[in-house]
Symmetry: C3
Subunit: 339 residues, 3 copies
């Protein structure tokens, strides 16, 4: 693509040579003459002047002298669009690999690709244009929507339902039994795990994450929510739409998470917690069972507190040695007999 | 099943119509006319009156007016029994799938089911009625007892031994090398990982959890212990019987855990810790290497302390800003010269 | 091997009978007459006198009376060498299992073993003497060096590169998409994940760990670094050489880790952190985004602090109830009117 064509694609204003050929998207620091980069923020702006990139996406009103740039309202977003055009996904040839084991009773739509050694059990269905990679397992009655990608070794237990454009990375498990036992008669007795899992449209789940089925109810991951690697989502959890949940976070049973919630990595949420819309849970935050995190609130720490409170407490904590010293001094000045 | 038959099954006292047909177990809030629910605790009791469930299991002496109920000593346990009867596990047809690769030298008992693309290496043995799902890998000499279920993509390394009725969920690994190195001659040198793993009867392990073999000794998970998803059990760990270990907990090398121990999620236990019988480790608790958690003790926090101590310290911590204010005030009243 | 031969192998001084036959390496407490153990440290030295081991590796100048010993400079390292000789790895027969699916366009060197149901895509290459176990997936263009071992169900995404003698345990994923989204137009928009992963020589990665590809740049794990189970390494992370990273640690995007760094279990590192050479991160330590851990520094806690500072603060924290008591007392003695 030429810089001219890219400018048109991202609806931006070209500044410089419109005939430069761009063949790849790249980072600002490593991009070369045939590559497109973007500069957003002060640090990037400074780097842009030194960049060897063939073209740079910049915010409107922030030209870079001596460089071919395209000015746009949102450079990073424009970069996403351009990269999609420059790097279209490798087309996956539709068809069922001869080593795949597909139940004659399963329903596969048009243009589905089923990789080597994949297994699709009876009554399962797969939507149009979906890729079932090598070694994926779809249990009986599983429903997978259109244009999904399931990477190698994904396991979807019987009965789970996936929407459209869902991406499950390698090793993800969906629909495992919830972790529920009743201690009686000297042993842990397994509570029935009969419920469902629903993964809505446009959800992406990272490698080796686990999403359990509901025990009696349903585990739901809402539309557009993105989950990183090694995340645990327990039974009966309901996560809203467009949330972002970073790696190694664990969400206990029956937790309710609203829309547009952001969680850092290694967050831990006790059971029956409610996290309201647009709340932000800092990395490593721990929410005690049954608590509520209010709409839009940012919390931090373990147990979690509102961020400003956490910071204040933390500052006092750091100051504790000095406080103790001060008390010692006061005590000495008063006669010290209270030690 | 009729309510009459259910009452007999759970050894309870029917109150209401004995001819109602019940076909499913369900949650109190969603259950409909053909479904069985249970009510335990005040909140559930209140909900029971509004429930549309065809029949409700209730504690003796807590009838629900206008509803068909069965009074029992332990409603949740009775519900487990009833659900087992209402939802018998889908029978798995025994037999070896033609795509499975089973060593001629392996020993399979009667009524074993081996799924597509499973691999069973030489000298491995599988007990009667066990299900080896699609894509499971059993290394050389692995022993799996009777009536186990190994879900898809489980990996059992060579030589590991599983008892009877063991359930391993999708992606579990058993018998990986322990993490032991000696730094010498400028590099990390691998310590021999020659030991064993023994998973005793009635153990259940959740999706993508990992249990390492012993380095020289043996890693043991005791009878009836239940382990959630994404849990790490390191080399030489010995876990007792009937423990419950929630998701993302990590247990370091050579830790000893007694019987009936309960661990919340994301607990971290340093190496050579001893956790005695019936101890309770709160979610996110961190036990420093070499420590002992005493019999029956409940600990919390990181580093973990006895719960009452943790609570007291935590209250003081929350009060720290006020304490600092007070000291400042005292100091001012004494002349303030010590600042 | 005889004790005489072992002494020669580890370049040690035999004390006792040189004709004892040793057939296994074992732990000091369980070793029997035909077994070799080692004793390093005071506790082990005391146990050595009671050990039934056929031969014990001991530090020079620390004989054990009445036992056949071999004195060496570094008993544990000598034990590693001896164990390697006593327990040579089971030779894996080279060859491609008939159920494996190997692209005609892939390049396999001599003496490669490809297990049942493994999948090797087009343009992938595998070096001499490497073992690709059952169910492993190598994407298009993946390069695996010589003498590697990839255990069952490993997934290597397209384009990733592994050096020589790399060990990936069961369920490891290498090259999954990084976790990067831009929130715009009411939804999370996926940032391009076009980068690379390079795993250098002699790296070992434990079961079910995940290493993401770079978004635009490259994720690198340096030579000789050892990673435990269930560890997350995000996009663009660069880890140096000979590091040790214990289980369930999570390393966020664009983190730089130097050489010879040691991390305990469940460490969490925020994005853009720099951990310099030979730093030590205690178990459960949490490093805030953008921070620097200095060369050789030992840090602890969440947020992490230098160890001595953490200990001092922690001592003060434990003393907090007493401090509060003291302030109350001072206040009372001064008239108490400030309460």
């Amino acid at each position: 693509m030429t810089t001219q064509e890219l400018a048109r694609l991202v609806d931006g204003t070209l500044n410089g040579d419109g005939r430069v050929e761009i063949c790849r998207a790249a980072g600002l620091e490593t991009a070369g003459p045939g590559e497109l980069a973007f500069a957003e923020g002060d640090r990037a702006q400074a780097l842009a002047a030194q960049s060897r990139a063939g073209c740079i996406l910049v915010p409107a009103g922030k030209p870079v002298s001596g460089r071919t740039t395209i000015a746009v309202a949102h450079p990073k977003l424009a970069f996403i669009r351009a990269a999609e055009a420059l790097h279209p996904p490798t087309p996956v040839a539709p068809g069922i690999h001869p080593t795949a084991v597909v139940s004659p009773d399963a329903t596969l739509a048009a243009e589905v690709s089923v990789g080597p050694h994949a297994v699709i059990e009876r009554s399962a269905s797969v939507g149009a244009g979906t890729t079932i990679a090598a070694g994926v397992y779809l249990g009986a009655g599983v429903q997978v929507g259109a244009h999904c990608v399931l990477y190698p070794h994904v396991t979807v237990y019987a009965g789970a339902r996936l929407g459209e454009r869902v991406i499950l990375h390698a090793g993800v498990t969906v629909g495992g039994d919830g972790f529920g036992y009743v201690f009686a008669e000297g042993r842990q007795q397994k509570f029935p795990q009969l419920g469902q899992v629903i993964i809505e449209d446009d959800v992406e789940i990272g490698c080796n994450s686990t999403v359990d089925r509901g025990s009696l109810g349903t585990t739901v991951i809402g539309q557009g929510t993105k989950i990183d690697n090694l995340v645990q989502v327990a039974h009966n959890v309901r996560i809203g739409r467009h949330c972002v949940i970073a790696a190694q976070t664990g969400i206990s049973g029956s937790v309710e998470v609203g829309d547009y919630v952001v969680m850092g990595g290694q967050v831990g949420i006790g059971d029956h917690v409610r996290v309201e819309d647009r709340a932000v849970l800092g990395g490593g935050a721990g929410i005690l069972p049954g608590k509520i995190v209010r709409r839009g609130e940012t919390v931090w720490g373990r147990p979690a507190r509102p961020l400003h409170e956490f910071k204040r407490m933390y500052a006092h904590l750091s100051n504790l040695p000095r406080l103790a010293e001060k008390v010692k001094d006061l005590s000495r000045r008063m006669g010290g007999s209270n030690e």
